[in-house]
């Protein structure tokens, strides 16, 4: 897993003295900002040559810049040796929406940056929805917005028989009773989300299947066969890692565009290119044995592109 930022957990030390020295100089430089901003605001009001729209935009930019400085200067006086980084603390002066990713390994540097979430299908790795939220919310909070995006995509289908989401799998981070309840209300099986660190049984017995259906209250909505498939498609770290690795090799691990909007654009474009590559693999049958088997079980048809492109008759 990628990590970056400063060492603030485990054996690492924070050089408070170094930070204090830098901080004093920076605060001295920035002390005049309030006066300059005030003067700029006054001269902006007097500038009659500018249009109202432009004046409003400049005034907003000025206000945002002033507020960012206040937030940074307030936070910089709070750094104390040995204290944990608080949630949504500013770690980049250019972009206050970047937050430390708190959950992670206990003996490695804290990760800074963004934490995009993806919702993919387990056969070819086609990503149905992606989200790059502000700050660092919990993993469980990603699920419902991502599912809403998939529902929007399903609504776009024009045919009489629209597909539905039958099950959702995730790691222990999304093991939340409230989320499970919300999924069951939508008719989605949550058997793919583990409750303990034990792996999910991929071949449940008929009694276990019945227990799953009863616990979810989806006896009439979901069939035992769908539960079997949901268990087979349960959370698998290697499968998810392969989808993430495909995104990382397309540059999703390092967001180069500016700000939260840039992160959204870059992630979206990367996901769309990844999806196109996944579709090419599906069309040309370049899939793993597991993926081919799952697609057969899901009843996904397999077109022979050569026959369609060059019909013999």
């Amino acid at each position: 897993m990628r990590r970056f930022g400063r060492q603030c957990r485990g054996q690492g030390k924070v050089f408070v003295k170094l930070v204090r020295q830098t901080e004093t100089q920076l605060l001295e430089v920035g002390s005049t900002i309030a006066h300059l901003a005030h003067a700029a605001q006054q001269s902006l009001h007097q500038a009659t040559a500018l249009s109202d729209h432009k004046r409003q935009r400049l005034a907003n930019d000025l206000l945002v810049a002033t507020q960012a400085h206040q937030q940074i200067s307030k936070q910089s006086r709070r750094l104390t040796q040995g204290q944990r980084l608080s949630h949504c603390k500013i770690v980049n002066a250019y972009d206050p929406t970047i937050a430390p990713i708190i959950k992670g390994k206990s003996n490695c540097p804290t990760q800074f940056g963004r934490k995009p979430g993806i919702l993919s299908e387990p056969t070819a790795g086609f990503i149905f929805a992606a989200r790059s939220p502000l700050g660092n919310p919990s993993d469980a909070s990603y699920v419902l917005p991502l599912l809403d995006k998939v529902e929007q995509a399903i609504q776009r289908l024009s045919g009489p028989k629209r597909p539905s989401i039958q099950s959702l799998a995730g790691d222990l981070g999304v093991n939340d009773p409230g989320l499970r309840q919300a999924l069951h209300e939508r008719g989605i099986l949550s058997v793919g989300i583990p409750k303990t660190s034990e792996p999910i049984n991929p071949q449940p017995s008929p009694e276990e299947i019945l227990a799953v259906l009863n616990a979810a209250g989806l006896n009439r909505m979901r069939t035992p066969y769908q539960v079997q498939l949901a268990c087979a498609c349960g959370y698998s770290r290697p499968v998810v890692e392969s989808h993430i690795a495909c995104l990382l090799c397309r540059g999703a691990g390092q967001i180069r565009y500016k700000g939260p909007q840039g992160a959204v654009v870059q992630l979206g474009m990367t996901v769309m290119t990844h999806n196109a590559a996944a579709l090419v693999r599906i069309r040309h049958k370049r899939l793993s044995k597991r993926a081919q088997k799952l697609r057969r079980f899901l009843g996904l048809r397999h077109r022979n592109v050569n026959q369609i492109n060059d019909p013999k008759n």
Binding site: F4, I101, Q152, A169, H243, G268, T273, R301
Partner: protein, 199 residues
């Protein structure tokens, strides 16, 4: 109107014309990749969104670069891992990139060094927002589902960390580099220090 008409002020010139689709083989990776996108719906979605958020104040001015070209360049940038400048240069010389951008014909003796400037691509990117990106992704997913290639029946959810703004130096990265430097220097000083004799 065909795309070539929009791009006439770049592609003007005399001499023979090159039919792009005849040059790029059907097995070419970029051609196969480009053929998976539902371009018409995606371009329509972008144009509607941009027209709503950035209404045109005057009908004057030159025709804009087609959205199809800019969208394809932006997507190709992530596919081939190229920078803005590099992908815009490739559009001038690489026929497969021209095919992905939807250009049907090009003039062989064109004097222009660039078809699209990198700045134009950056401006296009700045007009994309989260709602539009979600819509584009939904269009792509709907097209794939409609074709029967993918199914949303069983889904996996996960998150991954992504570094942002590493090109700019932040306080956190300065501190991290200082730590690394100090730890490496202390290690080297230990190595270089004369060994004490055991008594």
């Amino acid at each position: 109107m065909r795309l070539i008409r929009h791009l006439q002020h770049w592609l003007g010139g005399s001499g023979p014309r090159l039919r792009v689709a005849d040059i790029v083989p059907k097995t070419h990776s970029i051609r196969q990749w480009a053929d998976t996108f539902p371009w018409t719906e995606m371009v329509e979605a972008i144009e509607q969104s941009v027209a709503r958020r950035f209404p045109k104040r005057s009908p004057c001015g030159r025709r804009p670069v087609p959205t199809r070209v800019l969208l394809a360049l932006e997507l190709l940038k992530h596919e081939v891992g190229a920078a803005d400048e590099a992908i815009c240069e490739r559009l001038r010389t690489d026929v497969a990139v021209m095919y992905a951008c939807g250009l049907e014909e090009v003039q062989l003796d064109n004097p222009q060094a660039h078809f699209v400037w990198p700045e134009t691509l950056a401006q296009f990117r700045s007009r994309l927002d989260e709602e539009l990106i979600d819509e584009l992704l939904a269009i792509q997913a709907a097209a794939a589902m409609d074709e029967g290639l993918v199914s949303p029946a069983h889904l996996l959810v996960d998150t991954f960390p992504a570094e942002q703004g590493s090109q700019r130096v932040s306080d956190a990265s300065t501190l991290y580099n200082a730590q690394k430097k100090s730890s490496s220097s202390s290690r080297s000083s230990r190595r270089n220090a004369p060994r004490k004799r055991r008594r």
